[in-house]
Amino acid sequence: MSISQFDSIPNNVDLNSDRKLQKALLRWQPNYLDWWHEMGPEGFQADNIYLRTAISVDAGGWAHYDYVKMPEYRWGIFLTPRATEQTIGFGDELGKPAWNEVPGEFRKELRRIIVTQGDTEPASVEQQRLLGQTAPSLYDLRNLFQVNVEEGRHLWAMVHLLHGYFGRDGREEAEDMLVRRSGNEDSPRILEAFNKPIEDWLSFFCFAMFTDRDGKYQLAALAESAFDPLARATQFMLTEEAFHLFVGETGVDRVVRRTAELMMQDPNGDVRKLGGIPLDIIQRYINEWYSASLDLFGGEDSSNAATYFATGLKGRYKETTKGRYADHVALGESYSLDRPDDKGGVMTEDIPMRRAMNAVLQDSYRSDCERALNRWNKSLAKAGCPERLSLPSPRFNRLQGVFMDFAALPDGTPITREEWESKRATFLPSEADRDYVKSLMTKVYEPGKMANWIAAPAKGVNGRPQDFEYVRFA
């Protein structure tokens, strides 16, 4: 790669004149492409995909649609532009000028935050690399690839921060992001949730709905950061992330709608006979993905979270949106946190607000998920189906946080561990459930056609018809 090749990288970070970035990218970019070839979507690298590319930060520029081969995707580096100098919106440094450089004393914390967030981006691509082979439609296949290339771009955005602001350590961390592999025994991805392959499309939709949504809230918290380049990078990522959440939310909805349709068709309501996914399996998938995604928020009572807030590294959801929070210092306030008592029950304890910042972010996330559940339930109601889906309690099936290893039913009722284990298959997907869902996964590549277990989307991409040839096979 020569310097002139930087011309093809869309950016608004002066890449053409920034020798530091050029030096870092000269080494990193070829490794990135190698990684993409090795770990990106398996079997589709030569195909032309109808993809959206961000080519500038202008209103029209961030969503440029055209056919492109994925390895030739123009992964770019964008920061949301700033009209004025930012000030710090919360914490102990409230009102002071935001940082345009990494303060040395927060170097390790910021690096850790960026690396942990950044590592999930390539991880999800790796988890999903085989999914294309069982896509339920060309529309879905294209959406999967759109999500994949944009997760790749988000990796670029995080790597740009590491390259631009963290010196040699940052370059080494950026290299490591291409070395770790989802599920690899020796160098796994940092967060455990990103080390299991995603093997069926219901899991993919749940991932995009619940796990990517955690990502949205983490990015939103970082979009408030006192470290302005991080805030600007994550703000721009959020514009793309919205589509990923859309894929998840509408994907589950389309499965639900199809299931309701099939339930109405079969006299006994047994959708298995008709090749659909039963509602109870969908509920168990929701239970699993929602509880695992809550774990990604970190401990509800966390001194790290308090430090991140105090020092201005990480704010609350929409921290600086007018009227949302009265107090941006959050020193005198407290938060009522449910936690296990020592008798197997649940108690409420007031903890200092700053220590509860992960819980506060979780609360915003939870109400967002409730909204999506309502939408799915509306689809059920519209189809005349009396059953309803629900979100499990935050106490259910937790491997992190205050309810770690606590035994509770999905509605939050505490039970004994033995009872929980005996009922496990009623509220979490069993091997049989997974096998059944996988058995339905067969590719449908004919334009406009849908697999039997999923309803068609309401409309196509970018105003294109549903039977548009979203993927042109080589």
Partner: protein
């Protein structure tokens, strides 16, 4: 011990003095013998709130003592022996002033203890390397730090007047240690038996006469009537003709200009910053240096290496006492590598001359003072720098070094790096650096050319190499990060890492005074409300928490 008193400590202590300005000591030179007499003025302490009774001393006294020792070396090099005694009848010295210590900050106490020991090691260094033997003539009560000072002398004589004793009463009286070198010199230097030492240091009244001699605490006693005569005779015997061939030079003042930006000398400059709690020291080497003439003293006190290292010495003292908030010092040099190497070579070729040798010894002591300065030290080897030979020792003394990868940036070893300027542990900084690879350290003697950043990195002589793209960012991050860490933890960690290798009396003294001595100083049993040091001089008895740590 009220904390309000602590604000009395002046923030602009000067280390620049002259015999004409001494208040507390009398320096007399008579042929081959010099005499230092303690005549400490009660009412001239460094700050208000204590009286220097009974020849008790404070930092102000020790600054004069250090100056006298140094001046005898440079201005009176013919001297072969120096007596240290008191001008006050019946009292040699009662040691460091307790009320001064009581009203000092912890940081001041630590630095005070360090400084006094650097002075004492200077006395021992003069005895060993400059042919100027120090003899303590204890013409009265000698207690605590007073006896510690005596221990720094090569021989100790005590008046036998049935009254005067040598004592280390810190433990029984004050609940602290005779830890400013006293305990260590007792067993490591005088090699007093450990059980006798144990008895001695718990004996408030100390030992006098025959028993003090029997226990090796002093080398001899003489009755009052013969004391002066006998001791003088012994000193004259040691001095002999002294060093008549040596012609002294006059040391001029190195007083800096101080302004809000920093502390400025002729060759050494300190600027505050680049960020809070940091400072940058820049040492500049002139392009042209005079050759060493056949009579080197003609170079006088303005000779570059003497002047520059005296300035650096003065600056380090000021940094320690007057700028406790500065935690990180960046070391820069400006000049020509060839000039430094040529100077080193010329100096080592003429080391047979007392003056050149004395300057080398000074360089050694100043670099040791740098090793012992509890500030983080980063050496910046960048464009225009001249880290070579004696100046490269600065980079080896630093906790880390950063080297810029550029064509014209280099370092260069000289013979000065191979044992001429040892650390307190007796090893060169290179030997200490490569403790696990002695062959590598000795093999470096063959590296006599300028080394670029790749070579320096390869040879392990620098910590980090960055190109111009990374240089600024990497440094900024490293500096800001360092400046944000716990100063106590860094002080402890640096002191632990800097002195790898063998223990010597010197490393033991500093290690123990900065750890044991000063840990005990901040314990409630010493400085709590009912602590022994707090209640010293009060009718109340101390109350101890008797649980052992």
């Amino acid at each position: 011990m009220s904390t309000s008193k602590k604000t009395n400590i002046p923030s602009n202590i000067s280390f620049d003095t002259h015999p004409s300005k001494y208040r507390h000591i009398q320096l007399d030179v008579d042929g081959s013998v010099a005499s230092i007499k303690l005549d400490i003025k009660e009412d001239q302490g460094l700050w208000e709130g204590y009286e220097l009774k009974l020849n008790s001393y404070d930092l102000g006294v020790d600054i004069e003592l250090a100056d006298a020792v140094n001046r005898i070396r440079f201005e009176h090099p013919q001297v072969g022996a120096v007596s240290v005694s008191s001008a006050i009848p019946g009292v040699f010295s009662s040691g460091a002033n307790i009320f001064m210590l009581g009203s000092a900050t912890h940081a001041f106490k630590v630095n005070f203890c360090k400084y006094t020991n650097e002075t004492r090691l200077g006395i021992e260094d003069a005895t060993e390397f400059s042919g100027q033997t120090y003899v303590a003539a204890l013409n009265g009560i000698t207690s605590g730090g007073g006896y510690e000072l005596a221990l720094a002398c090569d021989e100790i004589y005590l008046v036998d007047d049935r009254r005067s004793a040598v004592a280390l009463p810190e433990i029984p009286y004050l609940g602290v240690l005779p830890g400013t070198g006293g305990l260590t010199r007792l067993v490591d230097k005088r090699m007093v038996r450990r059980d006798r030492s144990d008895v001695f240091v718990t004996l408030a009244e100390g030992l006098k006469g025959r028993k003090a001699v029997d226990w090796d605490l002093v080398d001899g006693t003489f009755p009052s009537s013969q004391f002066d005569e006998k001791v003088s005779a012994r000193i004259a015997e040691i001095a002999g003709d002294g060093h008549p061939e040596r012609q002294g030079i006059e040391l001029d003042t190195v007083a800096p200009e101080i302004d809000e930006d920093g502390v400025h000398y002729q060759h050494v400059d300190l600027r505050f910053g680049p960020v809070g709690r940091t400072a940058t020291i820049t040492i500049t080497v002139p392009d042209q240096l005079p050759e060493i003439p056949s009579e080197p003293t003609e170079l006088g006190s303005g000779w570059y290496p003497l002047r520059m290292f005296r300035e650096l010495d003065d600056l380090l003292c000021r940094l320690r006492f007057n700028h406790p908030e500065i935690g990180l010092v960046l070391l820069e040099t400006r000049g020509n590598i060839e000039t430094v190497c040529a100077l080193d070579e010329a100096m080592l070729n003429r080391r047979d001359h007392w003056f050149v040798n004395e300057v080398v010894l000074l360089m050694k002591r100043v670099l040791k003072r740098l090793d012992l300065t509890s500030k983080s030290l980063f050496a910046l080897i960048d464009e225009g720098s001249c880290f070579a030979g004696s100046l490269l020792e600065l980079a080896f003394a630093a906790d880390r070094s950063y080297m810029l990868e550029e064509d014209d940036v280099a370092i260069q070893l000289s013979a000065m790096n191979h044992g001429v300027l040892p650390m307190g542990n007796g090893l060169s900084r290179l030997e200490t650096r490569f403790l696990g690879a002695a062959d590598h350290a000795s093999g470096l003697t063959s590296q006599t050319d300028a080394l670029d950043s790749d070579e320096a990195d390869e040879l392990g002589l620098v910590t980090f190499v960055f190109d111009d793209i990374d240089w600024e960012d990497e440094l900024r991050l490293a500096i800001e990060e360092r400046a944000s860490m716990s100063p106590d933890a860094l002080t402890g960690s640096e002191a632990s890492l800097r002195f790898a290798g063998p223990e010597t009396m010197e490393t033991k003294i500093f290690g123990r005074l900065s750890a044991w001595q000063n840990w005990i100083f901040i314990r409630p049993n010493a400085t709590g409300e009912k602590g022994a040091l707090t209640l010293y001089g009060d009718p109340e008895r101390p109350e101890f928490d008797y649980r052992r740590t």
